[in-house]
Symmetry: C2
């Protein structure tokens, strides 16, 4: 099986590729080739068990998508996107990559000929939802994006459902929860603090909490995100019918619950590294974010998280990112 | 005020233009100019009270939208579309006109400069909804189009909400009910029979009913459709907030209720011109169509129908299309 990953240099993309290289298979099929793409060159894996092609460049230009699918990958993970803040600041870039790029990809697939009909896994986002919404958003709640990024993801979902219905590809859009604990350096995303307040203290550093402990949000580990992608790539999509956009399962927790879990797993001293500095700007943004989802349909279709509690989220970070150790 | 109508040669477009010419004003503003566009030249009105430019051609080609908005119309009615059956049969044409054409229009507006920010009224469709759905579809039910046409309309709605939120235009998308009684010749649309079984008997002709009398659907007169368009063009959109797609009010009625109304308004002899010829193909299509909507939000925002009953729907047809007479 030939697997193509678009956005392979991003955080989730790298973890997905690592897992695929380690497993050497996807579902029941041996991987015989991988093609990795991103705007910057993804790392070339050392000693993979099969050929790995690495491409760097803009995929939203004429013929780029045709070249990427030239080897007719049977499974395509489409994780490439301009993130929400940048898509808001640079209108043209957001629409060009997130909408036109996605459309170029699915049109290249549609026009490839020869009965080519790959599985396409598209990472959508809970940003397709905007306030006001129910405390727990159900699977049939309408899309009301309040950012261009969420608009572009919602359009991607509609296109992939229609292209799937028409038989051009076999697509699924999965709306990932906010990834927690996100590894790496603190970033400036408004959602960054959800991870910062756990990751930094575990590394012996201080972290800023800019919102109240009552703020509730929807989380899943990087390990769960990779699990969702693998299941989306291998599940029987006939069971999903024509509705190919799914909110992934996650864990709804308040910041207070996050901190309590940190204390239980790593101790009071670690949790004391969190400094409370309320930031009205971030509080205002976070106020409009989803707090909880039902995600029944995804669970019925076999999507499961790797964690059952926020304690698990912290333990998984310690296992997967810190080699089992943290700075007590 | 300068008013641009795209799709001015279609049934609703012609009625809208006729009304605007007759009124000479839109809301509180005198109309000083009209620009009419369609793929075939709309009829040039005789002795209008203001200049009327007529354009014919494809609006989804480079620079066409720029030319149409060159006179900076303050209000744009965007009714141009490839209809559902054709968009399903000709994939490229449907996406090119319904998606790319709409995007070219809103991008031309966005890039016009000089603070240009017109009111844009986009005719969407209840085809953004697909079965299964609740008996009466609420205002927060998700979009699950089962046709490319509905997908394209749903995408248009998302784009117009985002472009409005970003301040490029002041847009609203209105989902029209099935228009009943549609004037003119019987057409081959799967929904055609809803009008055919009333219009043809009133003209002394036989009509075929291909479905059971229990079939329920969502209707509004052409007069109501024009009223919705005028209200959408003149209402205060601040009240709608960022959610700019609205299901228009209508009348939910079964075919049996339609026929009973015909008997009451026009007599048993007229209704006897309906011939029952069940068509499993059409029955199958109609089975997946919406039966009823709540449309609370549109009503709260001041959208009203011209009719309160199916008897009214028939009377309005007799008044507006038949000069007050029918073949008894």
């Amino acid at each position: 099986m030939h697997v193509l990953v678009l956005g392979a240099a991003g955080m989730v993309g790298r973890k997905l590729v690592e897992r695929l290289l380690g497993d050497g298979r996807l579902g029941k099929a041996d991987i015989t080739k991988m093609t990795l793409h991103d705007v910057v060159a993804p790392a070339k894996p050392e000693r993979p068990g099969f050929p790995v092609d690495v491409h760097a460049g803009d995929f939203a230009i004429p013929r780029a998508a045709e070249r990427l699918i030239a080897g007719r990958p049977e499974v395509i993970f489409h994780l490439a996107a301009i993130v929400s803040g940048e898509a808001e600041l640079d209108f043209d870039k957001g629409y060009r990559i997130n909408l036109d790029g996605t459309r170029m990809l699915i049109d290249a697939i549609r026009l490839a000929g020869g009965g080519y009909k790959p599985r396409l896994v598209f990472t959508s986002s809970i940003a397709v939802f905007g306030a006001p919404f129910p405390e727990a958003i159900g699977d049939e709640f309408f899309h009301t994006p309040l950012l261009s990024y969420g608009t572009q993801k919602a359009i991607g979902e509609l296109l992939i459902s229609d292209y799937s219905r028409r038989g051009f590809l076999d697509g699924i859009s999965i709306r990932l929860p906010t990834i927690c604990i996100r590894p790496g350096l603190p970033n400036k995303a408004a959602s960054g603090f959800f991870s910062n307040i756990l990751r930094e203290p575990l590394a012996g550093k201080e972290a800023i909490l800019p919102v109240a402990e009552t703020v509730r949000h929807w989380h899943a580990t990087p390990r769960s995100a990779v699990g969702f992608l693998l299941h989306a790539a291998t599940m029987d999509l006939a069971a999903a019918g024509p509705r190919r956009g799914l909110t992934m399962p996650g864990l709804s927790a308040t910041v207070g619950e996050q901190i309590a879990a940190l204390k239980r797993v790593a101790g009071e001293k670690v949790a004391a590294r969190i400094k409370r500095e309320p930031d009205p700007f971030i509080m205002g943004i976070v106020d409009g974010w989803p707090r909880n989802f039902e995600a029944r349909r995804a669970r019925q279709l076999g999507f499961t998280t790797a964690e059952d509690s926020f304690d698990d989220i912290i333990r998984i970070h310690i296992e997967d990112e810190l080699g089992g150790n943290f700075v007590a």
